[in-house]
């Protein structure tokens, strides 16, 4: 813990000590230092968000995101379409400002992107910037430090800087701790352990410093190799699963399903606060999949209304059911709706037995909603004893809506990551950046035959991971070497 704090502190204090650009080929030549980027406006939802870069690769970053356009005139706002430099996917139409150094906030080349403030846009732009060679996320207070170093801030202006950095570092620390509770945190931790503690780096370092003279056990390097290989596989798998980021950008897929006439369309209309779907007492009213982007408890979501699941009706409705099932497979979160007053009916029972049970078995995220609670006897007794966990709701009276929104918020927070706590957007871009950096470095490790270069690749990989988890000084490596090996004359 202390070590972690210190590492964060040291990093924030020293600015960058990383080499994330090292692995990238074709990066522009850097005059001095790396180019940093960060969301400069506040976290959370807002009208306009400002993302800044500072450093020699700023112009390169701007051109990468606005290709094929030239650099805009210096210090004047221009409207540009931003798109992902790799996929070409449009991200936002934004105001961009180009400040060639030294006449800029930090004294270095700077770019400002004034984008629309939605979390999806911000996250998209940050991720796009992170993928530009030569760019890395800024450390706490790094912009201000650079400005300070270049004599751009007067002393009175820096009065509050220490407090600011203290606060940011604290936030980072808390964030690091919070992440460590999560699934990703645990993964990062185990990866970092593999790399440092469980030996790969320590073993290679030991092999360099002691391999010749001391009898290290056989196969030290082979062991490191296989650990690195394992790490590559799991990092790769994780990075390929970019769905979380995707969800946040385009919204989580929330699919409403249930037997016919359970009130699915009513729920969709209720949640979207718009009469999107036609509602009627007649079963099978909804036949196609209806999609509507909504803000669910603060999360962007794509809400899909689907046909009620039943067999043996006309071909049009059958196609609707097929599409509904297909959509269920892609869902990030399923809202299964049943008629609370009609739980004993064959359609309800078969839905519970087949669909809900099956989805549960596939560990799909699912909320079971019992609609029409207004029709239940007022005694407030549960609709039945053998039901899985569920929520009661009346689309008509809106009773239970708050409870549903609360539950949705929890589920979506897991699915998308929770943007209301800490700076998660930055986090996500940083995660990706460091994980990709780590993976690239491990690739170099495997390719190189020069052991000094190989060890350097592992050092870079470890530095990327320790930026996510903290810890990892030279002493730590030496401690492991002396613990694991009997070395020395």
């Amino acid at each position: 813990m202390w070590r972690e704090l210190w590492t964060l502190a040291a990093r924030a204090a020293r600015g960058s000590c990383r080499l994330c650009t090292r692995q990238s080929s074709g990066a522009p030549a850097f005059g001095s230092g790396a180019t940093i980027f960060a969301l400069s406006s506040g976290q959370g939802r807002c009208g306009i968000a400002v993302i800044r870069t500072s450093g020699p690769a700023s112009s390169h970053a701007l051109q990468s995101l606005t290709a094929p356009r030239d650099l805009p005139p210096a210090r004047s706002a221009s409207l540009r379409l931003l798109s992902d430099p790799h996929t070409g996917e449009p991200l936002d139409r934004a105001l961009v400002l180009w400040f060639p150094g030294p006449q800029s906030f930090t004294g270095e080349d700077c770019v400002e992107f004034h984008v629309h403030g939605g979390p999806a846009v911000v996250s998209g732009v940050l991720q796009a910037l992170g993928s530009v060679p030569g760019l890395r996320p800024a450390e706490a207070g790094e912009f201000t430090r650079r400005a300070f170093a270049h004599g751009k801030l007067s002393l009175t202006e820096v009065e509050g800087l220490a407090d600011l950095i203290h606060a940011e570092t604290e936030a980072q620390r808390r964030q690091a701790l919070r992440q460590l509770d999560g699934e990703l945190g645990q993964l990062c931790h185990s990866w970092a352990e593999t790399l440092t503690k469980a030996s790969a780096l320590a073993h290679v370092e030991a092999y360099i410093d002691f391999g010749e003279d001391d009898n290290l056990e056989e196969g030290v390097l082979e062991q490191a190799d296989s650990q690195v290989q394992g790490l590559v596989v799991s990092l790769d798998a994780h990075l390929r699963d970019a769905r979380r980021g995707q969800r946040l950008r385009s919204g989580a897929h929330v699919v409403v399903t249930g037997p016919p006439n359970a009130g699915k369309s009513s729920l969709v209309n209720l949640l979207s606060q718009k009469p999107v779907s036609i509602v009627s007492p007649e079963p099978g009213t909804t036949r196609d999949v209806l999609e509507i982007p909504v803000d669910l408890a603060g999360f962007p979501a794509l809400l899909s209304d689907t046909a009620g699941l039943r067999e043996g009706v006309g071909p049009v409705e059958q196609e609707g059911v097929r599409r509904a099932r297909e959509r269920l497979e892609q869902a990030d979160l399923i809202l299964a709706v049943l008629d609370a007053s009609d739980l004993a009916s064959p359609s309800s029972c078969s839905f519970l037995d087949t669909v809900v049970a099956l989805l549960g078995a596939q560990s799909q995220r699912l909320l079971l909603v019992l609609n029409k609670s207004d029709l239940l006897p007022s005694a407030g007794l549960g609709p039945g004893p053998n039901l899985p966990p569920h929520l009661l709701l009346s689309c008509l009276t809106r009773e239970g809506l708050d409870g549903l929104l609360e539950a949705l918020k929890k589920e979506l927070a897991v699915v998308c990551g929770d943007p209301s706590t800490g700076p998660p957007l930055l986090t996500r871009a940083r995660h990706r950046h460091h994980l990709q950096g780590c993976l690239d470095a491990l690739g170099h490790y495997k390719q190189t035959r020069d052991l000094a270069l190989a060890a350097e690749a592992l050092r870079i990989a470890r530095r990327h991971l320790t930026h996510l988890t903290g810890g990892g000084g030279t002493e730590e490596v030496l401690d492991i070497i002396f613990r694991d090996f009997c070395v020395g004359k």
Binding site: R14, S32, V158, L161, H166, T474, G488
Partner: protein, 695 residues
């Protein structure tokens, strides 16, 4: 420094014999009979000889005080192994040599078995090493020391320091102005360097016996130790050990693994093309192993072994056989049998450091393969000694407490000849620069292993004997043995004046040849298929359609300059004439792309290093900087000289760093208003130049 062999039969040395007549003339007005020197170095071990020679090279009239002139270059003559260099340590030697230090050149004249370690692991971590003939080394070192201009050597043991009022413009509670010898005579000096090694309250331990390591009846270090303690220096205690010695003719080498030296031998020094001895005339080393019977003897006799039980910290990487057995049970450990010299009949069993009672040591030795009939000539023993917490010295190795007093070598908690020599050179240079009122000569972590060594010591301290490893070095791929001259020789020549004209010219020639060679290699471009035809041995990938530079072809493991020059003789032949040049071109090519990126990171670190903290800052009371009490104490103790160093001290928070930064800027502005030339910017420009030099 202290010589165990003479324990008991040598009494006080109080003579002060003068070896060179021209120096040592008094010019001190206060004490007309006492000689006066610019720099006085106390101790004739590895740190002391380097320090004295470096100070003299920088133009200071220097006195080297040693117990006996004939033990110069014989530091701890029994206690450690007869080899120089190795992984990390070889790097230090190259850097000492780049500053025109002595040990590399002396080793090129005194080795009996030259071998580069880590040959298969990449040139950044090659470890030049040699088994040294102790007698030859001593002879050559003495010849060198006694013939160094401006350097006087005298026998004499130092009893105390002469202290004077501090210079008001510097920090420190007093200033050293000379030393008092054990006979009561005094020597005045502008700077004093202490390199007293393990002499401070050294204790020798064998079995349950313990006795002082200094010579009986002659305990000069007691007085010195007391003075240092009185002045307020924080003292710690460390331990180390040495193996027994074995009579060569009693070993059955025929059944052991033989290790032959390299052919050709690679010299340590940049100025030598070759070493003094042909590979076929060199001596082999032999390898044997411990076995369960050795473990049994150790484990059954732990009660007879007080050294092992002690809590004093010993080096983890130089463990005694006892600690190996205890920490890694049921394993077989290597024992290298190393020659002590050409005509020595002793063998040093490296890896068998032991403090058991002598008769049990002999019994243990005879359990080992090849040593069944071996005769032990001297038992191994442990040493416990005082060291001074190195956070009490600056990166120039001057103490915070006493102005113009420098510490170098084991006294600072390091172990090893090379670590001592590296500190010696830096202390010698800085003691001399201090006399001539020039700015100190500091090697940064980004410039050399010497910088890493000194920065680790002065900012982090150490609680075990500190040894150099390559894994301690962040910029390992840039700070290589091959390019130490391009990193340090030019600075040494210009800033310190410690480098000879001849060496400077050689380094300049090498630098320009390398630059020229690299630009030629970059300019030659062919398609990959043409390269494949030219150099069929190389596994050049033809997937790329872009033209490939000769420099990129040179990166392939199987390609060297020789091969490349055969393919394109007209433009490359001339670069193969000098072995070193050809090899360095190959190394530059290997690391080209990584080093470019590392330079960027180095620049960021150097930016922080360039921001100097005022030396006279009183962290405990200063009001202009808002700092927590804990941070104040840490800064007060270590007294970091730059923002960079401050940020490496554990517990110093980023907020504190920013506050310090603000303070530095204000101070600079005030100073800048006064003299218009801020020092930090000057330093920045210099480091920029340095990097350009580094290809």
């Amino acid at each position: 420094m202290f010589s165990f062999r003479r324990c008991g039969h040598r009494v006080a040395i109080s003579l002060t014999k003068q070896y060179l007549p021209f120096a040592g003339l008094s010019r001190d007005s206060a004490a007309p009979c006492s000689p006066h020197f610019d720099v006085v170095v106390v101790g004739g071990g590895h740190a002391g000889t380097e320090a004295a020679a470096a100070a003299a090279r920088c133009g200071s009239r220097t006195l080297l005080l040693t117990h006996r002139v004939d033990t110069i270059g014989e530091a701890r003559q029994m206690s450690c192994n007869p080899s120089f260099g190795g992984i990390g340590k070889g790097h230090l030697m190259r850097e000492v040599d780049a500053l025109d230090g002595l040990c590399s050149r002396i080793c090129d004249q005194s080795g009996v078995h030259y071998k580069v370690l880590n040959r298969r692991k990449g040139p950044a971590v090659w470890g030049l090493r040699a088994q040294i003939d102790r007698k030859l080394y001593k002879q050559n070192m003495q010849k060198e020391i006694l013939n160094t201009p401006l350097l006087t050597v005298r026998e004499g043991a130092v009893e105390d320091l002469i202290l004077a009022e501090p210079e008001p413009e510097h920090t420190g509670k007093c200033r050293v102005s000379g030393v008092v010898l054990v006979d009561g005579s005094t020597v005045y000096a502008e700077s004093v360097i202490l390199t007293t090694g393990t002499f401070l309250r050294g204790m020798i331990v064998i079995g349950l016996e313990m006795h002082p390591a200094g010579r009986l009846g002659d305990q000069p270090s007691m007085g010195l130790a007391q003075t240092l303690e009185r002045l307020g220096f924080v003292v710690g205690r460390l331990k180390t050990g040495t193996p027994p010695r074995i009579a060569k003719e009693t070993i059955n080498f025929s059944i052991l693994n033989k290790q032959t030296p390299d052919n050709p031998s690679i010299p340590f020094s940049f100025v030598n093309e070759t070493v003094w001895i042909k590979p076929e005339d060199q001596l082999p080393c032999y390898l044997t192993h411990t076995n369960p019977r050795v473990d049994k003897i150790v484990l059954e006799n732990l009660h007879l072994n007080s050294h092992v039980k002690e809590t004093t910290r010993g080096p983890r990487y130089c463990p005694s056989i006892e600690s190996k057995v205890l920490r890694f049970p049921n394993r077989v450990h290597q024992v290298w049998l190393e020659p002590e010299g050409m005509d020595s009949d002793l063998i040093y069993p490296q890896g068998l450091s032991v403090t058991l009672p002598a008769e049990l040591q002999e019994k243990m030795i005879m359990c080992i393969r090849g040593l069944e009939n071996a005769k032990m000539t001297q038992p191994g023993y442990g040493v416990q000694y005082d060291y001074l917490d190195p956070r009490q010295i600056t990166p120039s190795l001057e103490t915070h407490l006493v102005q113009r007093l420098f510490f170098a070598g084991q006294i600072n908690g390091t172990t090893g000849y090379e670590e001592a020599a590296a500190q010696g050179v830096i202390a010698g240079i800085n003691a001399s620069l201090r006399v001539s009122r020039k700015p100190p000569f500091i090697v940064s972590r980004t410039e050399g292993y010497i910088g890493v060594l000194i920065d680790d010591l002065t900012t982090l301290g150490t609680c075990e004997p500190y040894r150099m490893f390559t894994s301690r070095v962040e910029f390992r791929l840039s700070l290589r043995p091959d390019n130490a001259d391009s990193r340090l020789t030019f600075r040494g020549y210009k800033e310190a004046g410690c480098v000879s004209q001849q060496r400077y010219e050689r380094a300049s020639w090498m630098k320009s040849s390398l630059e020229e060679g690299i630009s030629v290699l970059k300019s030659i471009e062919f398609s990959s298929s043409k390269w494949k035809k030219l150099i069929p041995q190389a596994s050049i990938s033809t997937a790329r359609s872009l033209p490939v530079r000769a420099l990129d072809v040179l990166k392939y493991e199987e390609v060297d300059m020789e091969l490349l020059a055969k393919a394109i003789p007209e433009s490359l032949k001339k670069y193969t004439k000098c072995r070193e040049l050809a090899e360095r071109l190959k190394i530059e090519a290997t690391y080209e792309s990584v080093v470019i990126h590392q330079l960027q990171e180095i620049k960021e670190v150097q930016r922080d290093e360039a921001l100097q903290l005022p030396k006279d800052l009183d962290y405990l009371t200063i009001r202009d900087v808002s700092l927590s009490h804990e941070v104040r104490e840490k800064l007060h103790f270590s007294r970091p000289q730059t923002i960079g160093a401050a940020s490496r001290i554990p517990g110093v928070t980023p907020a504190a760093i920013i506050n310090l930064l603000r303070f530095v800027k204000t101070t600079q502005q005030r100073q800048g208003a006064m003299n218009k030339l801020p020092q930090t910017d000057e330093y920045l420009r210099d480091t920029d130049k340095l990097q350009e030099r580094e290809l």
